[in-house]
């Protein structure tokens, strides 16, 4: 069964910017897919379709057999989306409340919520941060808490938007270790332009100008124009 199936997806923002021009993407269950591409190639817009925040204007998005156009909130339980900027994702006064926000919305009991929060903070290595305020955290800590807020919901598909952007090499290694421990039973979709992440993923697709233009086997291919059919200006 496919975890993610995107067919001929188009999206145009209200201000007229065309972000997606016919994206096709298929991700099998348990697969790790890396979407690589320059800034403004439509990666973030595509990811926002995966949990139903944006609805397809043309084309089709089917997640775990659920059509994004027909669902009503179920996708958000199945797909956990980690945003690029942790300041957008952390909006509660304390770390505990932020990590608990998702589980509470899933209507889990209080004991289960606490267990989930504890587990999620443990996974990102920030046990004991429960009562800290987000504005007292460093950027790397915020980034890891943002990941914890999604892990606490225990989604089947995890989506990371530029997870290693502006991380220092130590925290980046931390993230890559975390990625390894997340296990094989979860489908993961990552976007970015960090070539190091390629080796942790099963497949890497190159995205450009609102389309996925092909699969990439090794990092040199990114710069080969004949392979990608586009040239760097």
């Amino acid at each position: 069964m496919l975890a993610v199936e995107v067919r001929n997806l188009h999206y145009r923002y209200p201000d007229g910017t065309i972000a997606l021009r016919g994206v096709d993407l298929r991700v099998k269950k348990g697969e790790r897919v890396y979407l690589i591409g320059p800034n403004g190639s439509g990666k973030s817009t595509l990811l926002l379709h995966l949990n139903g925040i944006l609805k397809p204007q043309r084309g089709k998005v089917v997640i775990l057999g659920i059509d994004a156009n027909e669902e009503n909130g179920e996708l958000k339980k199945k797909v956990g989306l980690v945003f690029q900027n942790p300041d957008d994702q952390l909006f509660m006064p304390t770390v505990f409340e932020d990590v608990a926000f998702g589980p509470v919305n899933l209507k889990l009991g209080e004991a289960e919520v606490k267990k989930r929060v504890k587990m999620a903070l443990e996974m990102v290595g920030l046990t004991g941060f429960e009562n800290r305020s987000p504005h007292h955290l460093s950027y790397g800590e915020k980034k890891r808490i943002a990941i914890a807020t999604v892990l606490a919901m225990d989604p089947e598909i995890l989506v990371f938007d530029e997870p290693t952007l502006s991380l220092d090499p130590w925290i980046k290694r931390n993230f890559m270790e975390l990625l390894k421990t997340l296990g094989r039973n979860r489908t993961i979709v990552i976007s970015g332009h960090d070539l190091d992440l390629m080796k942790l993923c099963d497949r890497t697709y190159l995205m450009r100008d609102g389309r996925i233009i092909g699969e990439i086997k090794n990092r040199r291919e990114i710069f080969q124009d004949s392979k990608t059919g586009a040239s760097r200006r």
Binding site: I53, K76, L81, Q89, F91, G102, V104
Partner: protein
């Protein structure tokens, strides 16, 4: 960047800090009500109210100087409102400044506004500087304040810091590129910065909302409240309220 301007000192440890926020909020509001309803002519009562509040300050280990300094911030605001009051009496008076007549009753009215508002502000400072903001919010929620208001306060607190950082960055970027601007230029730049801040806040609002929806937000805010009143809180409320009533009645 680290900030704490609203609830500075709230992470100290003292009997006052450890109280349940609900107990403190209830105490604050009873204090406000009683102070406001005490006639200003009973001067010694106000002295006692002041002593009561400042004894809390001392117990809480928050520097008295800090509390006083912060409380003076309200003087310009209250002063602006109250400045005309001494001249509004019409019962004739002994203190005359040319065409303006200051009457004792009007002067009393002026004192009334200044003293009461200052005492209330000091009490509020005691509350906010002994309670971390998140606990304050939980207290308000525990006292059945509508969740929407609690969330608005919570967002305000959270994003004030981010806006402040953003402002600081923009100001720094401007300074890095401008050399001795004229007055007109700097006003123009300030206008642009303010406009920019508005647009950025609006866009951030959209992104935060998307992040909330991603985690199952459906318009209803659910929070876990973990407050427990214990005997200390009961003791505090009892003592505080009986002292207040004692001052009012005797």
């Amino acid at each position: 960047m680290r900030h704490s301007f609203l609830d500075r000192y709230s992470s100290l440890s003292s009997p006052i800090h450890r109280l349940d926020p609900r107990a403190k909020i209830v105490a604050l509001f009873s204090f406000l009500l009683i102070v406001v309803f005490t006639p200003i002519t009973l001067g010694q009562k106000f002295a006692l109210y002041g002593a009561l509040v400042f004894s809390l300050v001392v117990i809480s280990k928050v520097p008295v100087k800090f509390v006083i300094k912060r409380s003076l911030v309200i003087i310009p605001f209250v002063g602006l409102v109250a400045i005309g009051l001494p001249f509004l009496g019409n019962d004739g008076g002994s203190l005359n400044l040319g065409v303006f007549a200051i009457t004792p009753s009007a002067l009393l009215l002026f004192l009334n506004v200044i003293v009461k508002s200052w005492l209330c502000v000091v009490a509020m400072i005691v509350l906010t500087s002994t309670t971390p903001f998140s606990r304050l919010l939980r207290g308000l929620q525990g006292l059945k304040m509508p969740t929407v208001f609690v969330m608005i306060l919570s967002f305000m607190y959270r994003f004030t810091f981010i806006l402040e950082d953003e402002l600081e960055r923009m100001v720094r970027a401007r300074e890095a590129r401008s050399f001795k601007p004229t007055w007109l230029q700097s006003v123009k730049a300030a206008g642009n910065i303010i406009g920019n801040l508005l647009v950025r806040s609006y866009e951030r609002g959209e992104r935060v909302y998307a992040a909330m929806r991603s985690r199952g937000y459906d318009g209803e805010i659910k929070l876990i409240s973990e407050l427990k009143m214990n005997s200390h809180d009961a003791l505090f409320i009892t003592i505080f309220l009986s002292l207040l009533i004692l001052i009012l009645v005797v």
